[in-house]
Chain length 229, copies 2
Amino acid sequence: MTAKGWEDIRAEVLRRIRARDWPPGQVIPGEEALALEFGVARATVNRALTALAKDGLLERRRKSGTRVAETPVRRATLDIPILRHEIEAQGRAYAFRLLDHRLTVPPLAVTARLGLAPDQPMLWLETVHLADGHPHAHEARWLNPALLPEPVPDFAQLSANEWLVRNLAFTAGDLAFLAEAAEGRVAEVFGVLDGAALLVMERTTWSGEAPITLLRLTHAPGHRVQMMV
Amino acid sequence: MTAKGWEDIRAEVLRRIRARDWPPGQVIPGEEALALEFGVARATVNRALTALAKDGLLERRRKSGTRVAETPVRRATLDIPILRHEIEAQGRAYAFRLLDHRLTVPPLAVTARLGLAPDQPMLWLETVHLADGHPHAHEARWLNPALLPEPVPDFAQLSANEWLVRNLAFTAGDLAFLAEAAEGRVAEVFGVLDGAALLVMERTTWSGEAPITLLRLTHAPGHRVQMMV
DNA sequence: GATCTTAATATGTCTAGACATAATACCGAA
DNA sequence: TTCGGTATTATGTCTAGACATATTAAGATC
C-alpha cells in the first residue's frame, strides 16, 4: 500500500470501511497513527478524513476521535438552476410572462412560515416560464417588500428570480419537493385537467433574520428533477 | 477587515462576489496577493477559495487563475435516508411488508436503462414501508441477481435497501424526482383513488460497470422531501 | 503561417511543527 | 453521591517553505 496523496489515503480508508475492516460505529486509529502508517504528515491524513466526513462516511469529534458512521448516509446534490439557463442549455428559447403582481396581505400560513407579522402586506408575483413557447413551469412567489429598492424593479422585464440572484445575497434557505394535483390557474396554464399530478418545488430563502421570498414552482406534467449522487 | 481563519476569508471573498466588487467572469487576485492582503499564509487563502469553488461560486484553473462563476449555481444537498431511520427518527414505529418477489425478465425499458441483456431475468421486489402501521412509501425494485450471494438473503426479514447499504458498495448512481398519478396496487396500498398525485423518487445505482438496482419509491400522499441549501 | 518546444505562472498538494478548541475523564470538595 | 474545576487528548487550523502539475504564452523551427 503505497499512499502518496490525500486521495490515495481517502481511497484506502474508504476501502477499509467497505471491506468492514473498520465496521460501522468503530473508532478508527487517530490521525497521528495513520500518518505514521502511511508515511505522510498528519495534515495529509486530516485532509482525507475531513473529506470522508463531509461525504457522511465518517463522524469526527474532538477528543473522541473518528468513527465510521453507523448509517452510511448518501448525499445527493442538486444544482438549482436559473430557469432561463436550464432552458437555454437545452437549446430552447426562453421567455416568461408575468400573470399577476400586487401588494397584498398573504395567507396566515405564509406569514407564519416566514416569521412575519400576520397583517404585513407582501409582493405577490405569478409567472409562467416558457420553453419554445410552451409552458415549462408556473411560479407563485411571495416577496418581502422591505428588501426591495425604490422604485421596485419591473418584474415584467426581468424575472424575479434573476433579479434576486443578482442583487440579494441569501444566507440560508430550504427546499422541498412534493406532488400536487393541478387546479385552477395552474391547470389552465399547462392545459391539463384538474387533478393531474404535478411536481412542485417549494423554496424559502433568508437573508440573516429577514425572510426574502417564498416560492412555489410547479413543473410541467412529466417533468423530472434529476440529481447526481 | 481583520481576517483570522479561512472561514473569515471565505466570507469576505463571498461578500466581494455578492457586492459585485468582483463581478461574474472576472479574474480575482491570485492566492499570493490575497494572502498578503489578509495577512495570512497562502495555504489559508487556498482553503477558502477551494471551498468556494466546490460550492460553485468560483472557477479555478492552474495558470489561468481564479474567476467568479458566470452563473452562481446554488447547490442543495439531500441526505438520502434509510426509510427505517427516517421513520424512527420521527418517533414512529417502522415495519415493512414484502408484497411480491420473484425472478423474472424485466420490461425492455428497465434492461435498456441498466445496460443489461434484454432477456436476462432480474429479481423483482415490491415492498410497502409502514410508519405506525400506516403506509409510508411503496417500493418497487429491480435487483441484479448476479450481485447477490447464495443463498439469496431473505428480503422478507431484512429490507433490500438495508441489505444493499450494508453489503454492496456502490460507486455511482443517479436520482430523480417526479410526480405521478396513483394507479393499481400503489393506489390500493395508500387507499387513494386512481389519479391521486404522488411523489416518486427514482434511483439507479452501479458498482463499477455492473448495475446494482433500479428503484421506484412512491411516497404517501402529501409527503414532502426536504433538502437543505 | 503552422507546428513543435520551452519557459513562465497560478493553483494543487505536501511537510513539520505549532497552537487552538472541544469534549471527555479524572479528581477533589461539599 | 453529586457537583465543579482541571488535566488530557484528538481533531481543527495556521504557518512558511517546498515541489508538482496543468496550462498558457513565447520562442524556435520548418
